[in-house]
């Protein structure tokens, strides 16, 4: 445990980037931030004028970079926090953060093993931190990313993921509507997708699966059925949408 890791710190919103019509990346400057590993989370605490406060946990979207912390928030209609963070919260505004949290669902740049990342919707966020951490470290670990979204408009980090990158293969699966040049029929992710876009089990890759419960359950079961060692399949299920 890093000393003071769990102290609440004040972060200031430095910039915003809209990823989709309903998802926004928030780049925060957090003086005293102790750094983090790709895959970890941060707790964000909001306090109202009358002292009422509430906390949500968000995956961090980018590797450690000084005192910068990036999160991507999906707006949940009627949510208590996400509409505020994606529509009202403006550069210069302050919020409290504490972290980093989590030491299991992490990728360490020193690892040379092949990596399979499987994302369902907003589950891309911690996996994107791993993709970016690999790039930042100049790692040669071979990466494959399988990213399931409803429609092309739902892709986060679209420009970045569509730029070719040596040693990173990106495959999209569309569950409701694909782009015009996509050869497949829209479908839920299944054995064929994971088998085709992933690594053979005998390569013993590290597998990271993140997304809604049903999605993660399905993909993890497929990986085990394809012969992957369950101990090398790390999962993170989004419980109730941390609105």
């Amino acid at each position: 445990m890093v000393q003071g890791k769990l102290a609440w710190r004040v972060g200031r919103l430095a910039e915003v980037r809209d990823e989709t019509p309903t998802a926004r990346t928030l780049v925060l400057d957090v003086p005293g931030w102790p750094g983090h590993l790709a895959g970890q989370h941060v707790d964000v605490r909001l306090t109202a004028e009358d002292g009422y406060s509430t906390t949500r946990t968000y995956s961090i979207a980018a590797p450690a970079d000084g005192e910068r912390v990036e999160i991507t928030v999906q707006r949940v209609p009627g949510g208590e926090v996400s509409p505020f963070l994606t529509e009202v919260f403006a550069p210069g505004d302050r919020v409290e953060l504490r972290g980093p949290v989590g030491g299991w669902f992490v990728w360490r740049p020193a690892s040379p093993d092949p990596v399979l990342l499987v994302a369902g919707g907003a589950g891309i966020v911690p996996l994107m931190a791993m993709v970016r951490a690999r790039r930042q470290a100049g790692s040669r670990a071979p990466f494959k990313l399988l990213y399931s979204v409803r429609t092309p408009e739902d892709v986060y980090y679209a420009g970045e993921l569509r730029r070719p990158e040596a040693g990173l293969d990106v495959t999209f699966v569309y569950s409701r509507k694909g782009p015009a040049d996509w050869p497949g029929e829209p479908h839920r992710i299944g054995v064929a997708d994971v088998n085709t876009a992933g690594w053979p089990a005998e390569f013993a890759p590290q597998c990271f699966v993140c997304g809604p419960t049903g999605f993660v359950e399905a993909v993890a079961n497929v990986l085990v059925a394809l012969g992957h060692d369950p101990r090398r399949v790390k999962t993170e299920r989004f419980g109730p949408s941390g609105s």
């Binding site: 769990l6 002292g51 906390t55 399949v233 109730p240």
Partner: protein, 199 residues
């Protein structure tokens, strides 16, 4: 009190005394686990209590189902901030299972299929506070919620209620389980908001 974030209003304030600090209420039952869901065949299922001297007490599935069961209805609190009220279970009280176990241990490591572990003080498993649960809301406990049987210790954060439990190892000294070694609190009392080490 933290710093005020201008413009943030939040929801109607709930003064629900049943909700621990920092939690919010859900109606569904989210699934959270660190890896794939293990599938355990009942004919191979065993529950083993191992004492600090290495003495083993073992129950098959039939043995467990033959023991007197209880039907606790409890509130559960996950460290990821959801709470669910009035969940009903069927299982065997740890008081029943540990009745004939001779031990001087103060601590327990719960061990699960799939390799998960979590540590608890033994006293938190006794006096009607914990069960080996095999039914949820009148149905067999589904695998994704820890079936065929899970530990149920509702007065602690729910990661202590080990899914797919296969045994308890009694220990003279405390040790850290899976999440505890990763920085989560060793005890995990929701009412004292003991989420992480040092809380």
């Amino acid at each position: 009190m933290g710093i005020v974030t201008p413009g943030f209003q939040g929801r109607a304030r709930s003064a629900d005394e049943k909700l621990p600090p920092g939690q919010y209420l859900v109606e569904d039952f989210p699934v959270l686990s660190a890896g794939p869901t293990p599938r355990v065949r009942l004919e191979n299922w065993r529950f083993t209590v191992t004492t600090e001297t290495g003495q083993k007490h073992e129950w098959t599935w039939a043995d467990l189902k033959a023991l007197p069961s209880e039907t606790p209805t409890v509130d559960i609190h996950c460290v990821t901030r959801w709470s669910k009220f009035g969940t009903s279970w069927r299982g065997v009280s740890l008081d029943t299972l540990l009745a004939d176990v001779d031990t001087a241990a103060d601590y327990v490591m719960a061990e699960s299929h799939g390799g998960y572990t979590t540590n608890l003080p033994l006293e938190d498993l006794l006096d009607g506070q914990a069960w080996i649960a095999y039914e949820f809301e009148g149905e067999d406990l589904p695998a994704e919620h820890g079936g065929p049987a899970r530990l149920l210790v509702p007065h602690l954060y729910f990661w202590k209620s080990a899914k797919w439990v296969k045994g308890l190892r009694l220990m003279l000294d405390d040790d850290l389980g899976f999440w505890e070694a990763a920085g989560y609190h060793s005890y995990g009392d929701p009412w004292r908001e003991q989420r992480y080490q040092g809380d």
